[in-house]
Structure formats: C-alpha cells, structure tokens
C-alpha cells in the first residue's frame, strides 16, 4: 500500500497526478487504468475541497495494487458526511440549453469505475471513500455502496 496526504486545494491536483503516476509505475499497475483513476481521484478530491470547508486537514489517499487493477481510498477527517454514492443521476440526454455541468463528475466516475463505497464514522467525523478499477471491470452504476453513512443533506 502506498499513501500520501494532500493539502485541500485544487493546486494539489498536479501532486496527486504525480503520486498516481509514480505509484502505478512502481507497483506495475496497468497504465491503461491511470486516466480513469486520475479522473475519479480529481472528482472526489475536488468535491471534498469544495464542500468540506470547515476543516484544514489534508486529504489522505491510499493506493493498493489488486488483481488486474487497483483499489484507491480517500480519507477526509473532521468533516460532515457527504455520501457520494447517493448523489443524484444526471440526465445526459437533455438538450444543450438544459444541460449544466453540476453533478457530472460523480456521474462520470460511476460509469467508469468497478465499484465505489462510502463510509462515515460519526465519532471521528471521518469520511472514507474506496473505489476499484480493474481491466475486466464494468461500470459501478449498480454497485455503489453505503456503509451506514448519511448525507448532510438527508
């Protein structure tokens, strides 16, 4: 397992992409999975930065090589729950005048990942998101999991 912590800023994205690239190379993870993993990490990390503004704690990222792919975990401490698995679907069939980019990031990663799990620990106010991407995997649309977390908006 390889892990690193990143400052809560969009400017951290370059460091995150360097981290994934280095880890994939060192662990021998299939490079073809890297664009989808970078996309998922960016969308989840920027959500944390945008919507959890009461903490200055860095976001921790862990990467583990698994059979045919990779498992990635983001851990955000001292935050309110925000269950990404409960985000509403985006209607991508709407005409352009009714389209809005809001929610598109989470929609995209549900299409591209094998699975996404969300867990919130109320005692430590910790959000934990784990996703998997493998060569043979399919979209996560039917395999998003909530492990007892609740949305701040519920």
């Amino acid at each position: 397992m390889t892990s690193a912590a990143f400052r809560r800023s969009f400017d951290s994205l370059a460091e995150i992409f360097a981290f994934t690239g280095d880890t994939f190379a060192r662990e021998g993870i299939d490079q073809r999975l890297l664009p989808a993993v970078d996309l998922a990490l960016e969308e989840l990390f920027t959500n944390m930065v945008k919507y959890s503004t009461t903490t200055m704690a860095p976001v921790h990222v862990e990467i583990v090589a698994i059979a045919e792919g990779v498992e990635v975990t983001l851990i955000d401490r001292d935050v309110e729950p925000f269950d990404v698995t409960k985000a509403p679907d985006v209607d991508v069939s709407l005409p352009i005048d009714q389209r809005d980019p809001g929610g598109l990031g989470l929609h995209l990663i549900r299409q591209m990942l094998d699975s996404i799990e969300y867990e919130y620990t109320r005692e430590s106010r910790r959000s934990r998101i784990t996703f998997r991407k493998t060569r043979s995997g399919a979209a996560a649309s039917g395999r998003v999991t909530n492990k007892g977390g609740t949305n701040a908006n519920d």
Binding site: D11, A14, D38, E42, E43, I96, R99, P101, L104, L108
Partner: protein, 97 residues
C-alpha cells in the same frame, strides 16, 4: 500543464491536461473565441468534469451567436468521457486516426 493556442482558419490547439486547476485559465481563453471554432484535441491528454464545463459553456455561447465548437483528434479516453457525459450529442466530434 496546459497550453491553448490559436492557429489559422479557426483552429485552436489544446495540449496537456484540462483539470479543475486549469479550468479557470482555459475558460478565460475560450471566452474570447468567436464564430465556428475547431478544437484540435490530438494532444489533450486528460479532461475532467471541470474541463467539460468549460467546453459546455463555450458551446452554449457560440451556438447562441450562430457559431459552434467542433472537436477533432479525439482519442479513445476522451471519446469515452464525451459519450458517458452525453456530450457526443452536443458537439460535432471527429475521432483521432
């Protein structure tokens, strides 16, 4: 790192990664383009929803004034993202050869 350059005949070349940290700078560039613009994506390595938002806002503005944004040199990763987001119905797209 992202670079965007205007060429001849309404062709704009975009190179690098269009992520959330680069989207504001990209939006400033695309806010200035007019008419029908061909965006050469041959060297666009990566795009996220923030980058898609830039393209969507630009397309809405250009269509409103009789122009449009065309995407060329679209690689398989970008093509997947455009398809998943429904943007393949909003943009004229030419795949990379």
């Amino acid at each position: 790192m992202l670079t965007i350059e205007s060429g001849t005949n309404g062709v704009v070349t975009i190179t690098g990664r269009l992520d959330a940290s680069e989207a504001p700078r990209a939006q400033s560039f695309f806010d200035q383009v007019q008419g029908t613009v061909t965006l050469d994506c041959s060297h666009l390595e990566y795009i996220s929803s923030a980058g898609l938002g830039v393209l969507l806002k630009t397309q809405k503005r250009l269509l409103g004034s009789g122009g449009k944004l065309r995407l060329t040199g679209v690689n398989s990763h970008l093509s997947d993202i455009l398809g998943y987001s429904g943007f393949d119905q909003i943009f004229e797209i030419e795949r990379a050869r």
